[in-house]
């Protein structure tokens, strides 16, 4: 299996440092307090936010409690599978998503409330964690929940000695290391960085981290654009121009 041809093209015709097409829509669900759909290439995730709300569950006196659940549609993968909502991978991803996005919320402004984040993976082609984070960020913005900054996420990897940006499913299955990263552009801070599956020399790691940061900057730029376009549309509709 050749992941990068001698001419420098990947399995889907991209260059190694090229992002897939990113698509964002806000307000896609009627009953959620905030919602968004995010597509990175063929990976498509729907995110919904309910809250801040008061519940019978465990609440914290000084800040909001954030809960997160990730579900996967049976038709999302190449092979149709009825994966339960509670598979080990889903639980771990949900925990990472929850911690990352919660860190970006002004939780102290919403004491004794609960914010529920729900994700549904409609199509899976690599980069699920990143797509969830991007969709979740937009859904939170759509809900008007006070946020510290934007968050953009992308995943980088390393195959055949080449750093790759935004891996698809085939590339993720290639056995190389995966580094998902989440980034806050205005504060210029890395919010989340993980490394799965593999060992890397430190220099290579630094190269990948730099590539991930650039990728995330590009992603946040596009997310911001989508958010601004959506907000402007609403403002125009309100009669204030």
């Amino acid at each position: 299996m050749e992941y990068v041809t001698p001419e420098g093209l990947r399995t889907d015709g991209r260059r190694p440092r090229e992002l897939r097409k990113l698509g964002c829509q806000l307000g896609t669900l009627e009953s959620a307090d905030g919602s968004a759909t995010c597509e990175m290439g063929f990976t498509k995730v729907l995110a919904a936010v309910f809250g801040p709300r008061d519940t019978a569950g465990k609440l914290h006196p000084d800040r909001a409690v954030v809960r997160c659940q990730v579900a996967t549609a049976p038709f999302s993968a190449g092979e149709r599978r009825r994966r339960g909502k509670r598979g080990p991978l889903a639980t771990e991803q949900a925990a990472t998503i929850r911690e990352t996005l919660a860190e970006n919320i002004h939780l102290e402004l919403l004491p004794r409330t609960q914010i529920d984040l729900y994700f549904h993976v409609l199509q899976a082609d690599g980069g699920i964690l990143s797509t969830c984070l991007n969709a979740g960020m937009l859904a939170l913005a759509d809900a008007g929940i006070p946020l510290k900054d934007l968050v953009g996420s992308c995943t980088v990897g390393y195959l055949e000695s080449t750093p790759l940006l935004d891996l698809n499913y085939i590339e993720e299955s290639g056995g190389g290391p995966l580094l998902p990263m989440a980034y806050q552009p205005n504060m210029d801070k890395i919010l989340m960085l993980q490394m799965d599956k593999g060992k890397l020399p430190v220099e290579t790691f630094e190269v990948l981290a730099t590539l991930a940061t650039e990728g995330c900057r590009a992603v946040t730029g596009q997310i911001r654009q989508s958010l601004m376009n959506h907000t402007k549309q609403l403002a125009v509709a309100r009669g204030s121009v």
């Binding site: 307090d33 008061d54 913005a141 205005n186 907000t231 309100r238």
Partner: protein, 231 residues
Amino acid sequence: MSLGASQVLGPGDPVLELPESGEVRIGSGVRLQDGCMAASKAGRLQRTNRGKLWIKGRQKKYIPRVDDAVVGIVRDRLPENFIVDINGPFNADLPLLAFENVTRRNIPALKAGDLVYARVTAADRDLHPVLACTNALGKAAGMGPLSGGMTFSVSSATVASLLAVPPHPALAALGAAFKFEVVVGVNGLCWVDADKLATCVLVANCIRNCEDLGAEEAGAVTKRIVQAMAG
């Protein structure tokens, strides 16, 4: 660096750098972060007459503020107060005696699902909001239980335009043709009543249209609908 009013911002965007000294007034949607004023939500930057900067964005949940007039749905009754859902993060408390000319003997018989029009008297971040069906002078001033009619929801942005003075063109067009009573709660919940149910349905739908159309356009559409109905 300061920004002109009505610029669209996203979370984390800088709004204003803190000056060396002096006073800066900020409102909802703007927070102090790392020595700089930053937006905490997406929306348009606004500046009040007194120079307060805040962000106007659209959101579904209602954040209560004192003196807002809201329409709420009664959920439960406790020994000292009713519990009212006002579409905010918390349910509100409406004391049993917070009505005009009421004593322990004639407390309004509100049940779960009934509607009330009330004023927010306390809205602390750490407490449940408190309502009252009286104004500061203890008079009802139109507030209290709402019976009959139908309810519908609009977003907070639409509420602002509906409550504006001069009256919204759509409301004016409807008022010229039909007799009805409408209450627009700042929390987005509205109530309409009329002699004929068909009128209620018409008014509710025309107001709901205002969600997606600007004021002028909504007024024009409403006029056309009203003419079609009358003809």
